[in-house]
Amino acid sequence: MPIYIARKLAFFILAVIAASIAIFLLIRGAGGNVAAVVLGKDATAEAINALAQQYGLDRPMVVQYFDWIGKLLQGDLGRSFRTNESVADLVVSRLSISIPLCVSGLVLGLLIAIPAGTYSALYSDRPLGALVALLSQVGIAVPVFWAGILLSLLFGVRLGWLPTGGWTNWDANFWGAVRSLVLPVISLGLILGASLTRYVRSAVLDVMNQDYVRTARATGMTQMQALLQVGLRNAALPIATVVGLQIAELIGGTVIIETVFSLPGLSRMILANVAAREVIVVQSTVMLIIIFVMLINLIVDLLYGVLDPRVRLAR
């Protein structure tokens, strides 16, 4: 296990470094003269030079990269060109929307997928099992934003139970904030749940056909005991891997769903700054998201190690 952890940690660090270089090159390399882009066509050469100097954009790329990374490590995400606000300040308030949204979406997805996938794996012959498989097949084809639109049409416009968009701050109106997040979370969770259901189903099918489940049955466990005590415990391994892989997709879904419900989250901030060519803001926020995804993947990997004695006890 210690070596396993060390290897995963080393990979995490390597991955973050590689991603940071890729993001930096992509944005700085492909973007041309950043200062000129930011100030637009009508800017004078002096203004461009002044901005470039102020933000150190005239230095060699390598220096700029290390400068950016060094500050990133100290928690300094840079400043906006236009408003000179600190990116870190901008990010923090946005995260209070994006993180609850993303995490609750994941939890809801799992709460749907684990029972549904298990049921349809065990009872594929029953009508309800077939229905679950069908719904998951259809759910995979539904774009998350359209699910959001349909849900707000039903619960927001028709029934008027929940807001179709907008946001009140947590401290201003806690329950209002919760209500604003209900439909976005359901949209995310349903669509994520649909695709996870398929994976859970095939993991459970696979595990329940294993010899050791038959052994469990032959030593007196009922089908349900064998499922709960042996099956799900073993199916947790492939499911953990898949969840890790789905995180990147979940982030994509969160970006879109924030737009559907006009939530002022992290992704809307990125979108606005993409449009405004706020290179530093985009660069740092994107890096932050990538680190977040990689961190979750690291946690999933470590969890896998704990769950699987073959990994935990390997030297």
Partner: protein
Amino acid sequence: MTAPAAIEVRDLHVVYDGLAAVRGLSFTVPAGGRMGLVGESGSGKSMTALALMGLLPPGWKAQGTILHDGVDLITQTDKALSARRGRTVSMVFQDPMSSLNPVRRVGDQIADVIRRHGGVGRHEAMGQTIDLMMQMNLPRPEQLARSYPHQISGGQKQRIMIAMALACYPQLIIADEPTTALDVTVQKQVLRLLSAATRERNSALLMITHDLPVIAAMCDTVAVMYAGRIVEYGPVRQVFRNPRHHYTRGLLDSQPTMDNIALDGSSRLTSIPGMVPPLPALPSGCAFHPRCPVATDICRARMPEIDAATGAACWHPVAASQPAVAS
């Protein structure tokens, strides 16, 4: 024989959508007795074992009567069967490598069985587990009990499996090819252990294998299966010394022994021509007739029953005076 049989099977059929893997099987294993069930792959012997356990794969159904411990297992609910599995009847499977839960310590897996059926506490169950492991000749049982399956050898895993099967002193143990997945050197030890441990507990043993010498060494009676039916049934000595069914005879003749392998390579090992028929294409009459040297019209037309005098289900049994190659 006053004690009730460990298991009594009457006219067992195992079917799936109109197909039958087992077609009218009847046999009895007396309490503490040892019966061998032999046959080629596809003869239905494993399906028989799973039917006795009530663990047939989805879609398969058992019909007939399986008397065990005063009840007909076929009529029992799965819950009632669960309460019996591992307690009055248990099974040792073929492949110990994949038959243990990879994420649970082997000692806990044995203790789970004891706790499930014995109603004893965690501590007591662990004590019994260590005793049991010691009886299985497992080295350093306290330490081994804390291992996971991937950390121990195949022979050790199969001993663990046997310990789980024996833990509650069952009346019947079904062993389905328990050693085929093991190294040759380990096979004999495991078989000897299985034999001694069942004898000690007075558990009956139903040994399923295609390995005739194993049956000869371990069992009192033998049933030879072909295409879902018993074609010959009797005491091991009698059947192997003087087989009356042409299939049994063929099986015995195709066993390599030191007698029929001449070292100069001049001798020939005989084999039965043809293959076991697939289920959807069972021959009419006696299913063995396409491969049988003496088949006639009646063999093609009518299915023979076991004859009380010969113990063979054959229209033209091998003559009693004609001994097969020594087994």
